[in-house]
Symmetry: C2
Subunit: 268 residues, 2 copies
């Protein structure tokens, strides 16, 4: 299994603090040492850093941790391989282009016997269930909407319908972004926190590092951090109920939909 | 205008030496300071480093120069913007997936009024003529061959036909790779060298750095380096005639085709 980290903000923000804790889980404080990756949107462009090696000892991860890249949408992943050998082609996040926008996807879970019909428009390069699911999602979106992107609410409803089709096949926690918004599926395990004024201090669980957000933010900044497990030990993280799909935009949850029967908490 | 750097090898090789010279041209020894990027294939996977800032002062470029990533196919680019503002989405190389393989593309030149019909299968994210040409090339390849990749020789013939269609629109020097081979179009300016046993020393033009390839190679290694302008001042680079398309594989040119009337030298 793997761990996910996402960030969605209303102004471009660096993820150095959160990534410092996450990086440690890639082989130091936790077992996810089969590769790591992080993708940043900067406007419509993306930068992706990927390595099929542990993040805790990677010079590239060290650079990412120290080099403030400002982004409104970030998706990161540390890998404990289930399907697909350890290799760059099986390292998350994955990227494709649809409707003239890059799409970024990372998955934590395990889909069993998931071999959907792929028509060739988006084909997996590696051997993971995750990339297969991503390709199928984009194929189905293009089939529904042709060559023009729908409105965001319509898009969210479609991603919900497609997630329902896949989520019966196994654990399917994922983060997906087109640079405007970030969709997060809590199949079994995902938490989030929104940081906004009045800002406070925070202390990482996985490294003895603290930050006072008052010193590094402006009053109107708003940042949502989404992670498999909370990254700090002194902030009120919200556990996202198993079986919920979330639409984050401008640093906060906009809408939540159930992906399996059971009570679902709406965002406040 | 911009500069291109490519590498095609028979065994995974690092590009640190060549990149050191190339990096200096991004704002130090030359004027290409509007962004830089480099893409490495590792098996079927890729890593891309991109920045919309000068390579000569970039901490990420510094990491790339010092961190030996072993690859059989590499494409790098330093940018002097012609079409499209300075921004990550307009920074080369570009990447798309076709036939379950990543394709990497970088362009040096300027295409005038090149606005081909795009059917939505590959759409530009940025505003460059370069990404438009890349999307059109891949669209046409998929239209010709459907969802299955053709044999390499058939592929080369098709890329030749498509290059002929574009090259009347302006300068169109490019490097293109699917991880197996590297296609290089010398529209106006491109040179290459093949390094193989017996290996010699080489000295960079742009930095006072030398390497003795005897010390860092095995007897069967073969590496082709392709660049807008020769990177070393003591090696016999071959000028690729204007109007030639080259297919490199396993560290050497395999075939050359003319892309405009005039005498064409075949590789030895």
């Amino acid at each position: 299994m793997c761990q996910l980290l996402g960030m969605n903000c209303n102004v471009p923000t660096d993820i150095c603090f959160s990534f410092a804790g996450f990086q440690a889980r890639g082989g130091a404080t936790d077992v996810h040492s089969d590769g790591w990756g992080i993708a940043f949107f900067e406007g419509k462009g993306t930068r992706i850093f990927l390595e099929p090696t542990p993040s805790c000892t990677s010079p590239v991860a060290e650079l990412v941790r120290q080099y403030p890249i400002h982004s409104k949408n970030v998706i990161a992943h540390i890998r404990k391989a289930t399907q697909g050998v350890i290799g760059l082609e099986n390292t998350h996040p994955f990227m494709r282009e649809l409707w003239g926008r890059y799409w970024i996807f990372a998955h934590n879970g395990n889909l069993l016997d998931f071999n959907p019909d792929l028509d060739g428009s988006f084909m997996p390069v590696g051997l993971t269930d995750s990339e297969r699911a991503f390709c199928w999602l984009l194929q189905e979106l293009r089939q529904r909407f042709g060559s023009t992107a729908p409105a965001q609410a319509t898009l969210f409803a479609s991603i919900h319908a497609l997630t329902l089709e896949i989520s019966g096949r196994g654990e399917f926690n994922f983060l997906l972004s087109n640079g405007d918004c970030l969709f997060a599926h809590a199949s079994t395990q995902l938490s989030y926190i929104v940081r906004q004024a009045p800002f406070t201090q925070a202390h990482l669980k996985d490294q003895d590092i603290s930050v006072d957000f008052n010193e590094v933010t402006s009053p109107n900044d708003r940042v949502a951090i989404i992670a498999t497990q909370p990254l700090t030990d002194d902030e009120p993280w919200t556990t996202m109920p198993a079986g919920t799909l979330w639409w984050f935009e401008e640093g906060r949850p906009v809408e939540t939909l159930e992906t399996r029967p059971g009570p679902v908490k709406k965002p406040a």
